[in-house]
Amino acid sequence: MRLCGLWEEVELPMMNQEHDDIFEIGGKKLTSRLFTGTGKYSSDALIPDVLVKSGAQVITVALRRVDFDADTDNVMKHIPKHVILLPNTSGARTADEAVRIARLARAAGCGNWIKIEVISDSTYLLPDGYETAKATEILAKEGFVVFPYINPDLMVARSLVNAGASAVMPLGSPIGSNRGLRTREMIRILIDEISLPIIVDAGIGRPSQACEAMEMGAAACLVNTAISSAGDPVTMAMAFGEAVKAGRRAYLAGPGVVNEKASASSPLTGFLK
């Protein structure tokens, strides 16, 4: 369907050769655990390279009224066909508005994935967990694959499990702040207590932070601003792709124990005794 990913020539992302660690979600099999977005690029023409270099296979978009006065570029032109579209409900302040946006997004014919974003706070853009859970329940019943964006709260996450969400997306810090994993403690608890995949969304500012989230056991990370606001977005995208893989691998490999004191890495016998 032509509204979806339009960009034709795309080499297979370098980093997705391995098939040993598949992330299955919403009926898809993903080899990359980095989700990215299309917001705030100096030029949307960077997006194809960002996707190729990062290896991301899922990308977010927003839905807005057509502006007849401004002849804006069509972001879809830059999204490769094979990439999974994850429309968000940004702009919604209530569950009803989120549901309305989700249905319009699905009518575009690019699939049934939806990131629920219900926000009424304009300073920190923090989500409304209760309205998000209400929208999740309605949309999951309608067959959407629902990715709710929340403040990390165990009770809200539990309600999302019951509401039929496909994953839980806690924020690391406020949207676009690049402040990193300030909510580390609660994300750790969600990973520990919630059966759904935990995808850290919002606030991740540097690859090391995405890497740490993955080491903690997050299923994936969604990174947009840290890439689009970087000096060189394409190189930063590649860095995030590598960092997410590194963190996931470290989680699977099992880190060594942390000690209070030192533990020699060379034989402790003195050199000549």
């Binding site: 369907m1 032509r2 509204l3 977005g37 299309t38 917001g39 705030k40 690029y41 949307d44 977010t60 978009v61 927003a62 839905l63 807005r64 009224r65 057509v66 007849f68 804006t72 069509n74 972001v75 879809m76 579209l85 429309p87 968000n88 940004s90 249905r103 319009l104 997004a105 009518a107 575009a108 014919g109 949207i175 676009g176 919002a202 969604l222 947009n224 601003t225």
Partner: protein
């Protein structure tokens, strides 16, 4: 007749279909999603969907977002 499109009142000729309107606005039907009086219109119905006086249209598209 008068219709409301994306919040603005607009005067258009009578007997216009949704396809006609989009063509007149130079919008590819594939590139947008249309809500007519709060009901989403399937793309295949655009050619047969007649617009009437006082109709309220919302025409949306995907844009960059995180």
């Amino acid at each position: 007749m008068e219709i409301q499109v994306n919040g603005q009142m607009e005067h258009v000729d009578d007997g216009l279909t949704l396809s006609d309107y989009l063509k007149h606005k130079k919008l590819e039907s594939e590139a947008v999603v249309v809500e007519l009086n709060l009901a989403i219109i399937p793309k295949e119905n655009y050619p047969t969907c007649n617009l009437n006086d006082k109709d309220i249209l919302e025409i949306v598209r995907f844009v960059g977002g995180g």
